[in-house]
Every structure is written in structure tokens, then in C-alpha cells.
């Protein structure tokens, strides 16, 4: 039983073990009592109501649930919340600021890098990890880096362009002309 599952109203089963965790999520320390089996994705989604982290496959394949754990991309559907105790987590809600988009967010919009939007948060966080490490990737390097994130809508070509757009913007280079899609 997880105390952050607000909709729970009944009595908790006292035989269920609960552990207290403190995780810094998007810069803010958050404390919760969680069942050891609770997945990080579910703590973020149901517990903290950060629903930008999506779950698509349950088996670490699709990457919709990708978040950054101390800066490294992980599939939060196969990380236990207790494993994140004491660590930093960045979700899509931590990209950009209320007033200003992150260049990665901008790139995805500029280059039509999303359609249904379900894979997008995971794609952007994987992109962030890539660009932190490699600010000027080649197309092949982008495709390799995104290999753990599935998209069923776009065919990836525009996602690759979005990443390259964001990389150029982060480097302070003039991004490709507005409206360029092909």
C-alpha cells in the first residue's frame, strides 16, 4: 500500500510492508511511504500526479516511461521506487520552465517530431541525456541513442530532425529554417 495513492480510502493492511523514500523529483525533495514493490513509474504517475511519464509496455522495451535518474535515462516501469531513494529524478515536467521551453521541446514541435504524443516525454528525456553527453551528434548517433524508445506514429525521421534541431539550438547555432520538414 502506498500512502500517496490518494484515492485509497479503506484501511491499510498492516501486514503490507512500507518503506519511506525521499526522492528529488525535478529539483524538489518528495517523501512517500511506499510498498517495496511499487514501481517508480507508478509513484510518479499516481503518487505525485506527474502523468507526463507514460507506461506503454511493462517490459523495458518501449521507453514511454523514460525518466532521468541522476541524469541517466532509465525505464521507470522497471525501476522500483525504493531504488530511487536518495536520488535525483527528472521527468518531462522538469524540462523547460513555465515561461520558456527547453530547446528539445522546441525542436520536437518545430520538426513535427510527434503525433499522438505518447512516446514524446520519453523521447525527449533520452534526447536530453544524449545531448548532455554528445552536444553535436550525427544522425546515426541519434538513431542509436533512441534505440530504446519506440514510436508507432512518426517513423522516427522527424524525431531525428527534432533532436538535431535541439542540438543546434543548444550549441547556439541558428536552427534550421522554420517550416522545414523534409
Amino acid at each position: 500500500m502506498t500512502s500517496l495513492f490518494e484515492e485509497i480510502t479503506g484501511d491499510a493492511d498492516s501486514s503490507v510492508p512500507v518503506r519511506r523514500v525521499t526522492i528529488t523529483v525535478n529539483g524538489q525533495p518528495r517523501t512517500a511511504d511506499v510498498e517495496p514493490r511499487l514501481l517508480l513509474a507508478h509513484l510518479l504517475r499516481q503518487g505525485l500526479r506527474l502523468t507526463g511519464t507514460h507506461t506503454g509496455c511493462d517490459t523495458t522495451n518501449c521507453g514511454a516511461c523514460t525518466v532521468l535518474l541522476d541524469g541517466a535515462p532509465v525505464k521507470s516501469c522497471t525501476v522500483l521506487a525504493v531504488q530511487a531513494d536518495g536520488h535525483d529524478v527528472t521527468t518531462v515536467e522538469g524540462l523547460g520552465t513555465p515561461g520558456e521551453l527547453d530547446p528539445i521541446q522546441e525542436g520536437f514541435k518545430q520538426e513535427h517530431g510527434l503525433q499522438c504524443g505518447f512516446c514524446t516525454p520519453g523521447m525527449m528525456l533520452t534526447t536530453k541525456a544524449l545531448l548532455e553527453e554528445n552536444p553535436d551528434p550525427t544522425e546515426d548517433e541519434v538513431r542509436w541513442a533512441l534505440g530504446g524508445n519506440l514510436c508507432r506514429c512518426t517513423g522516427y525521421q522527424n524525431i531525428v530532425k527534432s533532436v538535431l534541431w535541439a542540438a543546434a539550438k543548444r550549441r547556439g547555432e541558428v536552427p534550421p529554417a522554420e517550416g522545414s520538414t523534409s
Binding site: 507526463g52 499522438c116 508507432r152 520538414t181
Partner: protein, 794 residues
């Protein structure tokens, strides 16, 4: 006053950035699983581990022992409320929760409703079901055998495993064509089972409020109004007290058209618990129980004259529908629009017969990113065409060109009876050949051979029927397949537009506003688009079969024209001239004899609320229901160039050229996005993506580790080209586009691989063309079938 620049106001032809992106890139989309209602419970489904078994007993007592479990639903409980079975969208029935026996692995047996999803899963594991195994039936050969077990013993009068036996065309004339043929070309093909697997699985939140009698269901559906009608019929609730809300949808591709047992069970659970109940399918549940596509076998024959003319076509197919015929098909066409095959070719006569069979597999046959079986039609067509060209010793491009319907031969009645309306087929083909460097290919191939590599080029050309459809021919459950739009222009000239469609990533919120901008000159940014709530949206048949632009898009143009007609009266009143003296330019009416004297559409809107002429009804809003006169017929030419390493059978796509003619493009950026997405699914099916079953009926491919969908790494790059032939009967000249590449693309990849190994004499490798299949074909010089062994024998 200078006229408005249509592109600047986001009208037709503008590659307008997407409105919906602003929430998605911030993680602020609102998908079904993101919605939390007060007091909400969670439901999980217990699924059958066996493909075919009688249920002896179900013991739910241990589930109830778990704290937090509120309710366990079984088939008996559903049946007691007349909900044991539900009608499907194709006049069959489907078990909601199994009562008598289970008929496929993954079938819904019981549901646990609990305080949180983890507890619900604990509850599912605590249920004990006693099964008596029955023989599985995993392919049509077994299903049609004389001693086959009867799968649908629940249906009165059902004696065998045949769902339907359907034919179309002229059998006798086709027989004569074959008698006159110089050459008869034959192909035997299997289009394997595939799953649309949108990244978001299916789910619902049912919220029944006893105090008002109102049922609200948030649901992953591509067709909310059809669901409202179906729920009304299934649950015997009054239609006006049912509200279906389809919020943001994480991809559909046909997977979210049918009505699934989970939806119905969540509704009953909410009625019984009087609390909201959320059901979110896990990936395995999605892959083993919902909406498969394809799974069809073809015996194809073409009657040919020596000079390359196609005299006739005969297609005999068997389709594997699984345990329930649950996919949506227009009711007149049991096997969808399979008979749209060969529509781009001028063929005197054709005949087709399809037998649909039941097997102990999950319900299949949904239109996975295609218009009702059109994907199978075009794949079969283009594989047969390549084989015919090879059999005649003709160039594959020249053979197509020789048989194309000519540009001046429209409207054209196809051999199977469709009426195609427009196209420039040869122009598209020539553009594609030029782009890929066809003329230079033999030299390239020779050079590659010296390096020990096999090069192949594969062409696929097709026109497909999109936008079902006109009310004379197309209905689902008797409801004609029109669509609708409602436009309200507020007094400041801003507007809200609602349609009966429901996008799942196609960008409706962006493009629909562009149609309004084109028709009325109201900037697209001033038009809010809303879809998916049956309480507010006008009735429509939803989004699938590439029908949104052909049908709902047309309704948007028509409703805008109604608004414009009223605005013209208001303009005449404001300009103090008669209506006949008023002319229109984008966004503005003016006096014909004094063009400087005019009023904007926004001024007309203000007048509709504050300064209308005597006797005029106030307000500026309208709705339109659009019944298309015909389907739209986009054309496409896809050409793939591949290289095979004969030592491993691995093939790489060197280039993929796409030439699409979808008529007038509303938003070129979005159109290109649709094409690239479609090409990727085409590549997926050609290269890796299939679901198969073992002899026991176990689904092989029940998760993304076993069911391979392409990543950015495997997916090739695409080169896009366009030709524009406006649709003559669509108000803005547009044709469907969302599915063309998925439909036409697979044959291009497979044809390319087959072209590369042509010298071996191998005529066919069934999809997916896995490296081991290529290797085996190269090693043995024999065709590689994906069909079960019994179906291969001659």
C-alpha cells in the same frame, strides 16, 4: 485593403505547427490513464491461459480474502444481467466474460475490482479456474477439416467453423479470360497476423452516477459515437444518459475501433460499486486479446496476354478471424474492401471469393492502418503483378505502365465494380523511377555483385479506396458512414469547431482549423477544435479507414460555407447593398462596384449578435452532415532499393522513395508525417513484425520482447515526392492519406528482396522477410512460406 495571405493565417497549404504539441511536449496530454476521479477503483482482467477449454468452475473466494478487493466479476454474473455476450460490429456475438468455454488464449474470464491496481492484480492471481482442455484450432486448414472441433457451439445453427463465404465479380467471364490467356501467372501468399500495438494500450474509466442515472465513460476509442450506440444497445441504457469521452489517444491504427470486453466490464463494475472504475490494459493483454489485423491466405491467378496486357484476375482467399468476428466492416462487405485490389489497373474482368473461418485465436481482422482489408488487397496485387511481369519476362515498371488506367479514362469502373475518380498514375511512377535512378540500376546491381552483395529494386503502385463512405453502400450496424461538423463563430470572430471524428495523433486540432481559415478567412489560431465528447460533438462515425479528411474534413468545408452564406447576408446589411452586389475575397466581403467598401468576416460575426437585419435569426453557428458521393482514391508509388548479404540473408534498405498523390494537401508537414509513419509500419510488416501461434494456440509475440516493432535504428530513411490530382468530388479536393504508405509500402520492400534474388528462381518469401527466410531461400532455391505446412501442399 490588401487581401489576406492564406498561408500566413494558417489556411490550406500552410505547414502550420501543431496546436496539440504545446501540451504533449510539456507532458500535459490527458490520456485515459491520466484521469483520476474521486473514489475511483481499479480493475484487472483474468485471462485464459488456454486457447480452447471448457470452464468447469471458477472459485473467486480467495480473491475476496484480500483486503482492498471490492468486487469480482465472472461470466455468470454478467450473464445474470444479460451481459454474458455482446453483439460485435459485424453482426456476430462475442463473450464479455467467458461462461461456457474459452476460445482463445488471453480471453477475458473474470475481473477483479480493488482499491489500487496492485491489489487488483493480487486478486486476479488468487482466482482459481478449473479448465477442461479442448483441441485448439490454430489455422484455417484445421478449422475447415471435416473433423474439426466446433468452436462456436454457442451459436444456434452453426455447424462448422465458417464465418461467411463471400464472392464478388464475374466468375464466368473470368473463366473465359483464363481460357484465352497466353500465360497464366500464379501466386500463393500469406499475409501474416500483425498487431497495431499503439503505444498506449486500451482502457476505460466508467463512472455511473445513480443519482442522475448518467453513465460517463472515458475510453480509448477512435469512434466514440459508435461506442455510445453500442453501449446503449448492450447495456440497455438510454442513449442520452450515456456520455463517451475519448480524451487524448496514444495512437489507434485500428486497434481502438472495436468494443472490448474490458470496457463493458468496467461499466458494469461501476454500476455495481457505484464508484468510478478504471481499467488499463497491460501490454500483454493488448497484444494477445485486442484487434489483430491481416491473417489471410491467397491463391492468386492472373490471365495474361503475351504483350503484357492483363486479361483477368482471380483471387481465392481464406481469412482467419479468430474466435469472434469482432472487427468493424461495412455491413455489405464481409471481407471489407478486399475487392479494391487491382483498382489502378485497367482489367476487363475479375472474380474473388473469400471464406472467413473461426479459429481458437484472438479476434482478428481489424483494419490495421488501412481501410477494411485494403492492405491485404494491395499487397496481394503488387506481389502478383511483380510475379506476372517476371513470368512474361517484362520489365516490372513497363508492365505496370502498360496496364494502368489512363489519366483520361476517369471516372473508371474497376473489374470488381468500384468507381475510381482521378489520378496521374504514369506520372507518379515516372517520378519515382527518376528519383531512385531506375535507368542506372542494372549497372549498380552489377557493381554490387562484384562486392558479393545482391541488389534489388521493388516497386509498388496502387490506388486505394479511402473515406468510407457514401450512404448507398457503407454502413456499420445499419448506421450510414457520413460524418459531421459544427461551427460556432463567437461575436469577436473567434470560433469553436466540433466534429464527429476523433484523431489519435493525426493533428485534427491543427488541420481542421486550416479548413475553416481557407473557407472563411478566420485565422486558424482563432479556431478551437474539439472532438471526442459525445455530449458536445455532433454524431459521427469516428476516425479510421483514412476517413477523417474525406468525410469530416468535407463536413468542415460545408459547415463553413453555411456560415459564409449567412455572413454574406449580414455583410449586405452592413454595406447597405443587396446580397447580389457583394463579392468575397478571403476573410472579407466587399461591394463589387466599390471594392474598397467592405466588411471583414469578424465584423459580420459581431453583427450577427448586435446588428442583424430585421427578421434574421441572431447568432452565427451551423452544423453540417456530409454524405460523401464516393470514396476518395489517392494513388501512390513506392520504390525500395535493398541490398542483401547472401552470407547471412540480412537485407538493408538503401533507399525508399515515395510518391504520393493524395489530392490537395491541407498541411504538407502533417501529410508528410503521416506518410513516413505509414512507411515505417510497412517496413515493419515486411521485415519483422508478426504474431504467430504455436500448435497449442499459445500466442507467440505477447510482449515487445517477442513482438518486434522497429526502432529508430532499423527504420530506413524516406525520400518523399508529391503529385497533386485534386479529388473531383471533395469540396476542397482532398483525398485520404493516413494509411496509403502502410497499404502500398510492404509490397515494395518484399518485391525488392525478391528482385535481388530473382536469378535463384525463388518466387516468394512470405512476410516477414526475416534474414533466416532469405538465407534459406538462397540456400535451397525454394519458396519460403509463412503458412502452416498443411496449407503449402499442392
Amino acid at each position: 485593403m490588401t487581401a489576406l495571405d492564406e498561408v500566413r493565417i494558417g489556411g490550406m497549404g500552410a505547414s502550420r505547427k501543431r496546436v496539440e504539441d504545446d501540451r504533449f511536449i510539456r507532458g500535459k496530454g490527458r490520456y485515459v490513464d491520466d484521469i483520476v476521479l474521486p473514489g475511483m477503483l481499479h480493475m484487472e482482467i483474468l485471462r485464459s491461459p488456454l486457447a480452447h477449454a471448457r470452464i468447469r468452475s471458477i472459485d473467486t473466494s480467495k480473491a475476496y480474502d484480500i483486503p482492498g478487493v471490492r468486487l469480482v466479476l465472472t461470466g455468470e454474473m454478467m450473464a445474470a444481467r444479460n451481459l454474458g455476450w455482446m453483439p460485435t460490429l459485424s453482426y456476430d456475438t462475442q463473450a464479455v466474460l467467458a461462461t461456457d468455454k474459452v476460445r482463445f488464449q488471453g480471453q477475458e474470464v473474470a475481473c477483479v475490482i480493488a482499491d489500487d491496481p496492485y491489489i487488483a492484480r493480487d486478486g486476479v492471481e488468487a482466482i482459481v479456474v478449473d479448465y477442461e482442455p479442448l483441441p485448439p484450432v490454430v489455422n484455417p486448414e484445421q478449422a475447415l477439416a471435416a473433423d474439426a472441433p466446433l468452436i462456436r457451439d454457442d451459436k444456434a445453427g452453426q455447424q462448422d467453423n465458417v464465418v461467411f463465404d463471400w464472392e464478388v465479380g464475374d466468375a464466368e467471364a473470368t473463366e473465359r479470360a483464363f481460357a484465352e490467356a497466353d500465360v497464366v501467372s500464379r501466386m500463393r501468399l500469406h499475409y501474416p497476423r500483425s498487431h497495431p500495438s499503439p503505444l498506449e494500450t486500451c482502457g476505460s474509466i466508467a463512472d455511473f452516477d445513480r443519482s442522475t442515472g448518467k453513465l460517463t465513460v472515458y475510453m480509448t476509442t477512435q469512434a466514440p459515437h459508435i461506442v455510445r450506440a453500442a453501449v446503449s444497445l448492450i447495456a440497455e441504457l438510454p442513449e442520452h444518459m450515456i456520455r463517451i469521452v475519448s480524451p487524448d489517444i496514444g495512437g489507434g491504427f485500428g486497434n481502438k475501433v472495436p468494443v472490448y470486453p474490458g470496457y463493458v466490464a468496467s461499466i458494469l463494475a461501476s454500476i455495481l460499486t457505484e464508484r468510478p472504475v478504471k481499467w488499463i490494459e497491460d501490454r500483454t493483454g493488448n497484444l494477445i486479446s485486442t484487434g489483430f489485423g491481416r491473417d489471410m491466405y491467397l491463391d492468386g491467378e492472373m490471365a495474361l496476354r503475351k504483350d503484357g496486357k492483363i486479361l483477368g484476375v482471380r483471387m481465392t482467399t481464406v481469412s482467419d478471424h479468430g474466435a469472434f468476428f469482432a472487427d468493424a466492416q461495412p455491413s455489405k462487405f464481409k471481407i471489407g474492401l478486399l475487392h479494391s485490389a487491382f483498382a489502378c489497373y485497367d482489367i476487363p474482368t475479375a472474380y474473388m471469393r473469400d471464406r472467413g473461418v473461426y479459429t481458437t485465436k484472438a479476434p482478428g481482422g481489424v483494419a490495421y492502418r488501412c481501410s477494411f482489408r485494403v492492405t491485404e488487397a494491395m499487397y496481394f496485387q503488387e506481389r502478383m503483378v511483380q510475379a506476372a511481369a517476371d513470368d512474361l519476362g517484362m520489365d516490372q515498371a513497363e508492365f505496370r505502365r502498360r496496364n494502368f488506367v489512363r489519366d483520361d479514362d476517369f471516372p473508371h469502373r474497376t473489374a470488381f465494380g468500384f468507381l475510381t475518380d482521378s489520378g496521374q498514375y504514369a506520372k507518379c511512377l515516372d517520378l519515382g523511377l527518376e528519383a531512385i535512378g531506375y535507368a542506372d540500376f542494372e549497372r549498380e546491381k552489377e557493381e554490387a555483385r562484384k562486392r558479393g552483395r545482391l541488389l534489388g529494386i521493388g516497386i509498388s503502385t496502387m490506388t486505394e479506396p479511402l473515406g468510407a463512405g457514401n450512404s448507398r453502400e457503407y454502413d456499420i450496424l445499419g448506421i450510414k458512414m457520413f460524418d459531421s461538423a459544427e461551427l460556432r463563430v463567437h461575436l469577436t470572430g473567434k470560433a469553436i469547431l466540433r466534429t464527429g471524428a476523433r484523431g489519435q495523433g493525426q493533428g485534427h486540432e491543427t488541420t481542421w482549423a486550416q479548413i475553416v481559415a481557407h473557407e472563411l478567412g478566420i485565422p486558424a489560431d482563432d479556431v478551437l477544435v474539439e472532438e471526442g465528447d459525445t455530449d458536445t460533438a455532433p454524431f459521427g462515425m469516428g476516425t479510421y479507414a483514412s476517413r477523417s479528411t474525406p468525410v469530416a474534413g468535407a463536413a468542415i468545408a460545408m459547415v463553413s460555407r453555411k456560415i459564409k452564406a449567412k455572413a454574406r447576408k449580414l455583410a449586405a446589411h452592413l454595406l447597405e447593398v443587396s446580397e447580389e452586389d457583394v463579392d468575397w475575397e478571403l476573410g472579407r466581403f466587399y461591394v463589387r462596384s466599390a471594392p474598397d467598401h467592405g466588411v471583414t468576416i469578424q465584423e459580420c460575426a459581431m453583427a450577427a449578435y448586435g446588428n442583424m437585419p430585421d427578421g434574421m435569426e441572431p447568432g452565427l453557428e451551423a452544423n453540417a452532415y456530409y454524405d460523401p458521393p464516393n470514396l476518395t482514391w489517392p494513388f501512390a508509388c513506392y520504390i525500395a532499393k535493398v541490398e542483401i548479404d547472401p552470407a547471412t540473408g540480412v537485407w538493408d534498405v538503401l533507399r525508399m522513395v515515395a510518391v504520393d498523390d493524395c489530392g490537395v494537401r491541407i498541411n504538407p508537414m502533417i501529410v508528410e508525417g503521416q506518410i513516413m509513419g505509414g512507411l515505417t509500419e510497412a517496413y515493419a510488416m515486411a521485415a519483422m513484425q508478426f504474431i504467430t501461434f504455436d500448435a497449442e494456440g499459445n500466442c507467440v509475440g505477447s510482449n515487445f520482447m517477442d513482438y518486434l516493432v522497429p526502432t529508430a535504428w532499423e527504420t530506413p530513411g524516406f525520400e518523399l515526392h508529391e503529385v497533386v490530382t485534386p479529388c473531383p468530388h471533395h469540396p476542397i479536393g482532398a483525398k485520404g492519406i493516413g494509411e496509403c504508405a502502410t497499404v502500398g509500402g510492404p509490397a515494395a520492400f518484399v518485391n525488392a528482396v525478391m528482385d535481388a534474388i530473382k536469378e535463384t528462381g525463388v518466387r516468394n518469401i512470405d512476410m516477414p522477410v526475416l534474414p533466416d527466410r532469405v538465407y534459406e531461400a538462397l540456400r535451397t532455391g525454394r519458396d519460403i512460406s509463412g503458412a502452416p505446412p498443411a496449407l503449402m501442399g499442392d
